[in-house]
Symmetry: C2
Subunit: 329 residues, 2 copies
């Protein structure tokens, strides 16, 4: 090795740890159209002399959570948390024995509990998610997520994430993308574990929220969670949430349902290169199969709109070699 070769090794761009490691190769993705579209897009926007080059600060990728990063059947995992919270809080609420949807939950009759529709669900979220400090709520989520199990697989919910999407998150970050979650789920329900599970820090998690109020408790500054909705980060709320938190239109957006339609539309209607992708749940053997007629994660309007918008559609059955990561032990 001569000196000029050595100096080449020491120039910042070559010495950067970001570029030193081998890029993750999306090993759980079949070498089919969606993977080819992703890698071609990333190559295009990250190659310095490409006409489509995008500087790192503008490389924003947004991901829906339920049904996109982890499973959402037989119901949103946060609903299991809400039910377990109601059971845990029941001794302090004797009135719940005769009040829906609480009475049905306490009897273990989830179907009746959900029969009240959106209003009952809202009451449930307020009752199970409010009237604590933010620190207490974080602790409640952390304890629950460490011990709760998916009713069918018996695995921790954090192992019901999608292995191909974990690889995609790492692949994009390797290429200096900032990865964000933009979910209809509760922002404070996701933050306690998103960094460990997805590598996404709390400040890059966007979700639905309830109001908080700053107050002193025994002279100590506290944030109290109020029984009032602050923001619903779903459908047309997603572009609003993205603008509020990020303030910059994403380059790439990933979703799986009609709740992501506006997020993908907002993202891919921006100027210059943009990318949209939908995960289609069509694998009843390894996961679940549902789309147009599902009450959870309905995919109808967005599926119809995909071709005209050049959105990729992942067939979980055909495009993913594995679904969930291997069991931890």
């Amino acid at each position: 090795m001569n000196l000029s070769a050595l100096s080449l090794l020491l120039t910042p761009s070559l010495a950067s740890p970001l570029l030193a490691a081998e890029p993750p190769a999306l090993p759980s993705w079949q070498d089919s159209a969606p993977k080819q579209a992703i890698t071609a897009f990333v190559a295009k926007v990250t190659t310095p002399d490409s006409p489509d080059f995008v500087p790192p600060a503008h490389r924003i990728a947004v991901f829906d959570n339920d049904g996109t990063l982890w499973s959402e059947q037989p119901m949103y995992f946060q609903a299991f948390f809400a039910f377990d919270r109601v059971k845990a809080l029941a001794p302090q609420h004797p009135e719940w024995k005769d009040m829906e949807p609480f009475a049905s939950i306490l009897k273990g009759d989830l179907k009746s509990a959900l029969a009240g529709g959106e209003h009952a669900l809202l009451e449930l979220v307020i009752a199970s998610h409010a009237n604590t400090t933010t620190d207490e709520f974080e602790q409640a989520v952390s304890s629950w997520i460490a011990s709760a199990r998916h009713p069918q697989s018996g695995r921790p919910f954090t192992e019901m994430v999608y292995q191909p999407m974990l690889e995609l998150l790492a692949f994009l970050r390797h290429h200096q993308f900032k990865t964000f979650i933009v979910s209809g789920g509760g922002i404070e329900f996701m933050r306690p574990w998103a960094e460990r599970v997805y590598g996404i820090p709390p400040e890059q998690v966007i979700g639905s929220s309830i109001r908080t109020r700053y107050e002193l408790r025994d002279g100590k500054p506290t944030l109290l969670r109020l029984p009032e909705i602050n923001f619903i980060d779903d459908k047309a709320g997603k572009p609003v949430g993205i603008h509020q938190h990020i303030g910059r239109r994403p380059l790439m957006a990933f979703g799986n349902s009609d709740g992501d339609f506006e997020m993908l539309s907002w993202t891919t209607s921006g100027q210059g290169p943009r990318f949209g992708l939908l995960v289609h749940h069509d694998d009843p053997t390894r996961e679940f199969a549902y789309d147009r007629s599902s009450s959870i994660g309905r995919l109808d309007k967005a599926l119809d709109a995909a071709p005209a918008n050049h959105w990729s559609v992942v067939s979980m059955k055909n495009d993913w070699l594995s679904i969930h990561p291997p069991k931890a032990d």
Copy 2:
């Protein structure tokens, strides 16, 4: 050079550009108590074998903007923007000729315009900041900030920033802190220039906001700015805004007025090492001198609370060697 020396050069930690450059040395800070407190704190939390070591993901530093990162006299700079917007929009609003506070603004009588207090100010912000798309508003701010001048110094407002604080932002980022703005000012007023001027990207700017609504205009996805307040990021709103956007209690907080009292309290009452600092405007020669009786940037309660909370207080007169950066040309 032998092979083992070469391999040492190539290990990620040594090759990292973060550690390769010499740390900025806060050259515009007098070597007095505030600088010593800052550098001692940063050394303590970033030294791997220190009992107070904090991993990079938790190194969050929050900065007020008006009066902390740039000047705020003779009035908040955003008010100059609002006045100029009213003048620019006046042809579309003939009714403003006879309606306060607009009539006074159009006559150039700013004192009378502000006489209506908070209500008049709110009306002014709504009228001058809403009813555009987010893209149009960003364009309006960018044009204004490029041409407007401070009425006393004649300099662009972006040159009315504080040189010692620019150095501090760079110093903290060098030590793997993430720097955020947490301002009572408008989030969309700061984002268009904060990255260029402070090195702070839009997703790390938190501020007051008005509501936006997603809608299609000629089939194109658009975010419309509505004439309704969404969030006031001041006083007890600052910890709320921090929690909403960051979701993690900061390690360091920097402010200059009673509007920052709750932000500093929230930050420094967290467990483990925390740091708070107030900028005290006591330099009538090089900048402005005001505190307990000022209507803009009043510093009274927070100044009294500083000693008991171990908050540093910067005397701009004694602790800063320079105030604003040198003129660009």
